[in-house]
Structure formats: C-alpha cells, structure tokens
Amino acid sequence: MVIEVRNVWKIFGERAEEVLRAIQRDNLHKTKVLERFGAVVAVRDVSFAVKRGEIFCIMGLSGSGKSTLVRHINRLIQPTDGQILIKGQDIGALPTEALRTLRADQIGMVFQNMALLPHRTVRDNIAFALELRNTDPFTRHQLADRMLETVSLQGYGDAMPSELSGGMQQRVGLARALAADPAILLMDEPFSALDPLIRRGLQDEFLALSQTMNKTTVFITHDLDEAMRMGSRIGIMRDGEMVQVGTPEDIIIHPKDGYVADFVQGLSRLKLVFAHRIMEQPETYNKTHGNLAEVDTWPQAHPQADLNSLVSLIVGQDCPIAIRDDDKLAGIVTKDALLKGIQGPSS
C-alpha cells in the first residue's frame, strides 16, 4: 500500500476536538453539528488505501469534502483525528523539514485552477519543485524540457503561462507535478475547468502517461463519467463520508445505497459491464432453450469483453454469443440478456 488513510476526521471550527468527541459519543449528523457548535464536519471517519500504480478516484458533489480529504495526503491540512500513512510512514508525526522533503520528492499535485506562477516562464514553473530543493539551473532546465516533451508542449518553455490556453496550462501543471518524479500524484479536479473535448483528450493522455510512468494517483472529480474512465477503483463521498469504495463495475452493478444508485443510473453501461456479469451458465441455457449443438458456429467472446464489443458481435446474427475462457465454454449471452444488461437493473 502506497497510501493508507485511517479513520480520518476533519472538523473546521474552534473547539474541533471537543466537537469530535461529541459526534463520536452521540453520532450527530452534519447539520446538527453546524447548528450546535458552529463547526463544519468536512471529513467524517474516512478510511481507504491505494495500491502502487493504481488510479484511485474520489467522486463526490461539491461540498462533499473530497478536496479537503486529498489535502490531508500531503498534509496541507492537518486531520482532526486519524492517521495518514505514505509508504507505511505516518506523516502526522513528521517534523516540518521532513514533511517539506516528502512534499518535494514524493508527492506531486495538480490543481483545478492550475495555480501556475504568473511571473515565471513555463520552464521555470515546471522546474519549481526542483528549484525549491536547490537543484542547479542547468539540470532543472534540462529536466523541464524533458517534461515539456512528455506532455507534448515542446518549444513552449519560454512562454509565459498567460500566453497558453487552459488545456495547455493544465499540461504545464501536470508537467510541474511530474518534474520531481514523485511516486504519488494528487489530482484535484484537474480537468474540471476545461471544455469537454479538451478534457477528453487530456484524460486519454493522462491514462497513457500513468501506464508508462507507473505513478500512484489519487484523482478527485465531481464527474462520474470521468471517475469511471480514469479510476482503477472509485470512492464515492457524500457529506464527508466515504459511501462506497469499489471498482467501476462493482459500483455500477452493486450500488451500495439509493444515493449511489441514483448516481450511476444515467450512466452508459456499455463499456463498464462485462460479459461474465450477464451470461447464463451453459446448463441453465440448455434447460430453457436447449440446443447447444451449434455452439461452435456462434460468435465467440472472452468473459472480460465489455457489452459494447458484444453488441458488435451480435448485430446481424440470429444466434447467441458463446463466452469462452481458455477454450472452455463459460456461458452464453442471448440478445435479450444483452439488451437487459445494457438497460441496467433499475428500470
């Protein structure tokens, strides 16, 4: 586990400790706390862990505490209670200097509003983390130029941030976060401020990048589509609480409560649900339909094939699809089952 968050609480307001004890004793709700103490519960008893190389998406509406939560991971915000472990080390106990080194070496961060330094060139912005660690100008400029290539902005090193478009600025933000080669990336709604086409392009680019660079990423977003596209796993937050953690498929197939179900309802399941979820066992199929004789002439698919590819296979065919895992017949997907699978369980 690269990042471990254990029972983290964050309460804004005076007397936070006292409020925390009162909440734990009486199990108060957020609105009650605000009413009685004038304190805001931003993060409420959140635990999760992120594996190496994973993209962990935290999804929630505005005000759900997701941005506050991610700032705990590099201790820009101190938790009221609970622990955060980076590579097994409790960062709550770190002295200031060690914390600064951790931020500079281990954790890169990308912000929704880019937060580039307007008085510095793109190159100096990217090299900022290295400059803070007193790396010599030659090394850091070379590195910055390499980073510019990584985010396909070569040649823009001498431009000022204000001369770049929003999408390009966010690439610079990403390059700055990657410059010190940190193990961890914190992305705080990095693409939310961009228009949809550019957002999509950057999402794809980031996915490709993160596969080659093998960073551990915590990705904040309020957009479920984005979370589903980017996340190896997703945590859904509401009112400071982590409602559900799971893979995109988990969440779409087994929403934990009505809140999550409402969220995933409108989502296209075509690329998120896989064949093994909707297939019938060969025996069951045999009982209801009989006639497995022609199974070898049917279209074939893997259990991990998504519904989208099944649709392509079945269009213009009169027969079902045979799902095979290592040549063994694992199940059958009929047209009806596929249509139901696309529609989802709720309606």
Binding site: R100, T101, A104, M109, A115, F128, L186
Partner: protein, 515 residues
C-alpha cells in the same frame, strides 16, 4: 377590481392614521394615484408645526419644523437683545451705536417673520408627503409609530424644553468672554461673592467651564555635572495658582521630552548621525556632481526609462530650474526626497510583510498607520523638532513618518492579495515559509509594492517642502522665506519649480511601474 383595491388601501391608510383617518386616507390615495395637487398643504401641520409632527410620531418632520421655528425664535431674541442695547446706547448718547443696533434689530425681526411663515408653509407642504413615506415604512415594520399619541407629544415637549429656553437666553444676552470667566473663577476660589447671573452665564453660555483645577507641576531641570553625567533638579513652581488640565498636561509633556533628551540624548544623536551619513551620500551624488553631468544623466535616464517625450519634458524642467537659479536648491530638495524614500522603503517593506503575515503585526501597525494618515502634515514637525532639534535630519525624519504609511499598506495589500491557491501550490511542492515569501509572494506583490514606492516618492517631495519650516532647506525654504517677507513673485517661481520636479519624478516612476 379597482374599487376593492382602493378600499383595501383606504382601510390600511385609516388604520395607520387613526384620528382623522378619512382625510389621510383620501390624501394618501391621491399620492398613490399621483393626483396630489402641487400646492397641497396639511392645515394641522401648518398650524401645529413640530407639535403636530411629534403627536404623529414623525421625528424627521419634528426636527425640520423645530429647527426652523427655533431659528426664528433666536432671531426674535436677538431683536430683544439689540433693542436693550439701543436703550443703553441712547442713555450713553452714542448715536452711531443707536443707528447700528436699530438696523440689526430690524433685520433680525424681518428674518424672524420670514423664517416663521416660510417654515410653517414648508412644513405644511412636506407633511403629507413625508407622512406617506412614514406609512410605507410602517407597512413593512409595524413597530413604527402610527396614529396619534399624547405620550409622543410629551416627548416632543421635553425636547423643546431642554433646547429652547437656554438657546433663546443665549441669544438674548451678550455672552461673557473667556478671560472674564477665568477672573470670575479665581474670585470664587478666593471666596469672594459674585452675582448669580454672571456665574450662570459663565457656566452655560460661554466657553465650556473649567471643571478641573490642578496644582501647577514642579519644574525639573537636568543640568550636566562636571563628570558629564546629568542630575535631576526639582524647583518649586513659579506660582501657586492652580492651572487647568490643558496647561498641566502640556507642562508635563514638556518635562518628559526634556528628560528624554537629557538621558537618552545619545539615541537621538545616533539617529541624527545615521540620517546625516545617508543624506551626505545622496547629496554627494546630486549636489556634489557638476550640473552638466547631473542633468545629462537625468535626461538619459528619463529617455531610457520612460521614452523620448519624457526626456524632452525632463530637459525642459531642468532648463527652468537652471535658468531661474534654482539648480543647487532643487538638487538639495531631490536629495532630501531620495534619502527619505530610501528610509521609507527599507523600513516600510519589512513592516508591510509583518502586517501581512502576522495578526499581531496587523493589530499593532494598522491603527498606528491610521493615526499617522489622519494627522495633518504640520503636526509631524513638532515631535521631530522636540527630539531632534532643527535642520535636515529632523526634516527627513518627519518626512519619513509622513510618507511611510502607503509603503507599509501597499506591501501588505500586495502580499495579502496573492491568491491562496498559488500559495497552496507552492506549499504542496515543499516550499518553506522563506521560499514562499521570496519566490511567490513578493514577486506577485511587486506591482503593488512599486505603487507604494511611487506614493512614497510623491508624499516625500511634498513633505520635504513643508519641512523647510524646521530648517530642512531646499526649494521649500525659498517658499517659506518668500511667505515671511511677502515676496510673492519669488515664492511663485519656486512653487512652479517644485511642481515641475514633482511631475518629472511622478511620470518617470509611473512609467517604470508600468513596464
């Protein structure tokens, strides 16, 4: 629909007006329908004046009506005062005085009549219109007064009783002057009998009475001993007569300053010396360099920094100064300004950072700056003279105090306005507080800081001129000297020179800021 709406409003009007609801209902209706005649008057308000207003609880109208009637009454009292004076002057046989007082008496009588009639007409005209606004507010807030109430009439009468008699009495009497009242107070202290009327007049219609009499403080001197140390010698006060608070405190302040100068003189001397060293260095550049070199450098700098047009302007200004024989004096003024600006920036920048960064700093410095900016510039000269005597260093010191606030404020403002997200980003990449300040906050606050420097330069220049009063010299001295000797022409020429210098510096600094 319309009739029922009418009656709805009418009911509400009547509920509000209470007594004479029909009249007010119809009037308000006409106001709402914009059908009120231009000359509509409320007869009860016309007759009753402020009493009507207090009965109705409309205090705005009460004060308007009362003020006008009061001024009319004061005029009548003045008529009485001058009539008495006429009688007195006739008895004394002073004809010119009789004529004068007669004239004044007539004028006041006419004023009283005109004011009274016009005031009542105005009140009658305003009454229903303002009363309607009163109604509109009452609809929103039912706790506002409505209808008539005898209790409010009582309050109105009390206000009148409190204000009217004394004011009218004051107008009908020749008030005693301050000196005769002090004499009276001494007589009372000495136990002599004084007429009750004089006593009353001194307490109520003259200067605010001296309530506190204090023992005159003893006199301290701090003579130097043979070994160079100072000793404190206390002498009895020169007179045993008690003094008032003002006199008492100012003597204490004087003695405090005397004490500070005697025992901490080294501190003030040290400050003076450092300022003089700085000033000498600056003057060596501006005054000590031959005019050919200095003016050339000025013009080249102006062209490089602010373009060729500013270069031409600078050349013209310098030519003016040279032609009218102001060169050396002007350079002396520029030196003073530069020295003051340097001190302001060097001291103001860290102060501004402190204010921006620390709540304690803001709590301490902000009120001091507020006071510094409200005090008129002349007042700064006093402490400068008190502690540092006269000459250029105290002049620079007064200038620094006068010109520093914008430096501190704009530095703090610039740092506070650095976006929180930018600072957060820097922290997220591991910046230390020092790196945050030097690499993020100060660079981003630079435009604001430079605006502060510009302000400091301009304020310094204006104060340096004023500081000529305490011997700072320069162009200001010519103006002060010309003022004292009423040599208007010479003063005007020097004044134009100062204005030109100010414009020259301002334009160049502004251009530099914009780059």
């Amino acid at each position: 629909m319309a009739p029922s709406k009418n009656s709805d409003s009418l009911d509400s009007f009547k509920e509000f007006a209470g007594h004479r609801g029909d009249y007010y209902g119809q009037t308000f209706l006409r106001i709402q329908q914009a059908k009120l005649p231009g000359l509509h008057l409320n007869m009860s308000a016309l007759a009753g004046g402020f009493l009507w207003a207090s009965l109705r609880g409309n205090w705005l109208l009460f004060w308007i009506g009362f003020a006008v009637d009061m001024v009319a009454a004061v005029n009548l009292a003045l008529v009485h005062k001058y009539d008495l004076a006429v009688v007195q002057a006739t008895a004394d046989g002073k004809d010119f005085l009789v004529q004068r007082y007669d004239g004044w008496s007539d004028a006041h009588l006419q004023a009283a009549l005109v004011l009274f009639v016009a005031g009542r007409l105005l009140l009658g005209w305003l009454a229903d219109r303002l009363y309607y606004h009163h109604y509109a507010r009452w609809r929103v807030n039912r706790s506002l007064p409505s209808g008539q109430a005898i209790r409010r009439l009582g309050i109105g009468m009390l206000v009148v009783l409190f204000i009217a008699p004394l004011t009218i009495y004051r107008a009908s009497q020749f008030a005693p002057d301050e000196r005769s009242c002090i004499k009276l107070a001494r007589m009372i202290q000495d136990g002599q009998q004084v007429p009750l009327k004089d006593r009353f007049d001194c307490w109520t219609i003259s200067e605010f009475p001296t309530l506190i009499w204090l023992q005159r403080p003893p006199q301290y001197t701090f003579p130097r001993n043979d070994d160079g140390t100072r000793s404190i010698v206390v002498k009895e006060p020169s007179s045993t007569r008690p003094v008032n608070l003002n006199h008492w405190l100012s003597e204490h302040i004087d003695q405090g300053i005397g004490y500070m100068k005697a025992f901490y003189g080294w501190l003030f001397d040290g400050v003076t010396r450092w300022i003089r060293i700085l000033l000498n260095a600056v003057e060596a550049v501006f005054v000590g360099t031959p005019w050919i070199v200095t003016s050339l450098l000025f013009i080249v700098a102006a062209v490089k920094l602010a373009g060729s047009r500013m270069g031409v302007f600078t050349g013209a200004v310098l030519l003016y100064l040279a032609l009218f024989g102001f060169w050396q004096t002007a350079m002396s003024t520029v030196s003073l300004t530069v020295a003051a600006t340097v001190i302001c920036v060097v001291a103001g920048l860290p102060l501004g950072i402190w204010v921006a960064k620390s709540k304690v700093g803001a709590a301490i410095v902000t009120p001091v700056l507020d006071i510094m900016q409200t005090i008129p510039s002349f007042v700064y000269l006093l402490p400068a003279v008190a502690f540092f005597s006269v000459g250029k260093p105290p002049g620079i010191l007064a200038t620094v105090i006068f010109a520093m606030p914008p430096m501190v404020r704009l530095t703090a403002l610039g740092i506070q306005h650095v976006p929180a997200s930018t600072k957060e980003a820097a922290l997220a990449f591991g910046a230390s507080p020092r790196q945050l300040l030097l690499k993020v906050e100060l660079p981003l606050a630079l435009p604001s800081i430079m605006a502060g420097v510009n302000q400091v330069v301009m304020l310094s220049l204006s104060m340096v001129v004023i500081a000529a009063i305490i011997g700072a010299g320069g162009m200001g001295f010519i103006v002060v000297d010309a003022l004292a000797r009423t040599q208007v022409g010479r003063g005007i020429l020097a004044g134009i020179g100062i204005a030109l210098i100010a414009m020259m510096i301002d334009r160049v600094v502004q251009k530099v800021n914009r780059m």
